[in-house]
Amino acid sequence: MYDKGKIIPGLIVFVLIAVSPIIYNRGNAGHVPNPEKPKNAKECVRPVAEMRESHMQMVIDWRTDVIRDNGAREAVTAGGVKYVRSLQLGCMKCHTSKQKFCDECHKYASVEPYCWDCHIAPEEKD
């Protein structure tokens, strides 16, 4: 007839699912990423804002160019320093820790770059 016994629990489940993010977070915004800045350099190969938004594009372009199209490795200059177009020999020369730099944001935003499918992350000194 009215099926209250099914509709009300159904609605409750629906609301619980809808507000599940609120319940899950329990009012706690959690850890906000704070990637460790390099100590030995002041300037990156591109402006910080551009790096934040598009580093993934640049890194993948490097890979394509260097690995697949036999492009030159040494090509990027920043603050008068030449950098190798390479994840481990370039980027990670300054950003030495995967955990303290890369993972900070990647984990926060649940991004799983497949860099590390091939590259072996440097040993963390800590």
Binding site: M1, Y2, I7, A29, G30, V32, E53, Y114
Partner: protein
């Protein structure tokens, strides 16, 4: 005409979102206030609608029987297409909600000279609907990575599975492709099939165009105009913890995207999109066909309605009945 109206409506919404996003305080409005309003409207009126349905009783048991009834023990019953038990109904509903069972039956009729009518299986609508709805579901679930901190393994895994192709950077989500595909197919079907075009209303095109605009702005943000995802997540988590913040630059497009999503949320409970709730309440699908096995009550059944009485009948026909040697109560 109706298509144009729908597109213009959505364009107007895009413009509104854009304008508000660039005026001072506008971003805070869209980012910190509107989502709460929209979400509250969505939840509240969704519930109001369902409760409104629930307030009317189901006076009769009227399942559409789509297979053999349960009758004699040696006659094989269609347990799920014509269920007689709660378990059977649950399976029927699961098949309906998750697999679109009824649409899977779809046929297409063609009239040929003769006249000769041909009926063939037609699974396009079923396929298009599946593509769209499952893509939509995956996209929504994926977005949880922005609202939950830390991100649960399941959501992470879903993102990984959705991006398993490992092309482009950031990685391409298959659901981004398929949701657009699904929308285009469903929209195209409305335009191409004369029968569907004739019945389609603005109410039918509009949600498709709106979701298309939402999906497009989302895709643009992932692959082309990339706002800072960390800021976006801070905003999203802020919303989900009741401490909304605008942590920094996020790009106008993000606010347009968010504005459109809010529009969809507000539109939802007042529109045909409520089929999401309605599908669970449809009396022709969610009732067991045990009509003759168990009594079903109707709350407004009127006991005062009685058949024309036998006494009245006999009074009228007693003489002819006696003549025809039909037994009577009163001689």
């Amino acid at each position: 005409m109706k298509v144009l109206q729908s597109v213009l409506l959505v364009l107007a919404l895009v413009v509104v979102g854009f304008v508000v996003a660039i005026i001072p305080g506008g971003q805070a409005l869209i980012g910190k206030v509107l989502p709460y309003l929209a979400f509250a409207v969505f939840l509240l009126f969704f519930i109001v609608k369902v409760v409104g349905w629930a307030k009317s009783p189901v006076p009769f048991r009227i399942p559409t029987t789509a297979g053999q009834e349960k009758s004699l023990p040696w006659v094989k019953q269609s347990r799920f297409d014509n269920p007689s038990t709660t378990g059977g109904v649950i399976v029927r509903m699961l098949l309906e909600v998750t697999m679109f069972r009824s649409l899977f039956r779809n046929t297409k009729a063609e009239m040929h000279d003769g006249p000769y009518l041909a009926h063939g299986s037609s699974k396009y609508l079923w396929l298009f609907a599946l593509i769209f709805h499952y893509s939509f579901l995956v996209v929504v679930l994926r977005h949880l990575r922005l609202f939950l901190n830390p991100v649960p393994g399941l959501i992470q895994a879903l993102g990984g599975a959705d991006g398993f192709l490992q092309v482009l950077s950031p990685g391409l989500y298959i659901s981004d492709l398929t949701i657009v595909l699904g929308l285009v197919l469903l929209f195209g079907r409305r335009l191409v099939r004369p029968q569907i075009r004739y019945i389609s209303l603005v109410n039918d095109y509009f949600p498709l165009v709106l979701i298309f605009a939402i999906a497009t702005s989302g895709i643009l943000m992932r692959y082309i105009i990339r706002p800072d995802i960390i800021n976006i997540k801070q905003l999203a988590v802020g919303l989900a913890t009741f401490h909304p913040v605008i942590p920094g630059e996020m790009g106008t497009i993000f606010f347009v995207h968010l504005f459109l999503v809010c529009c969809l949320l507000v539109y939802f409970p007042f529109s045909k999109l409520m089929h999401m709730g309605g599908v669970f309440l449809s009396p022709t699908r969610n009732m067991a066909n045990n009509n003759r096995m168990v009594h079903h009550d109707n709350p407004w059944n009127d006991p005062a309605i009685k058949p024309h009485s036998y006494a009245g009948y006999e009074d009228e026909f007693r003489e002819v009945m006696k003549e025809a040697e039909i037994p009577v109560e009163k001689e």
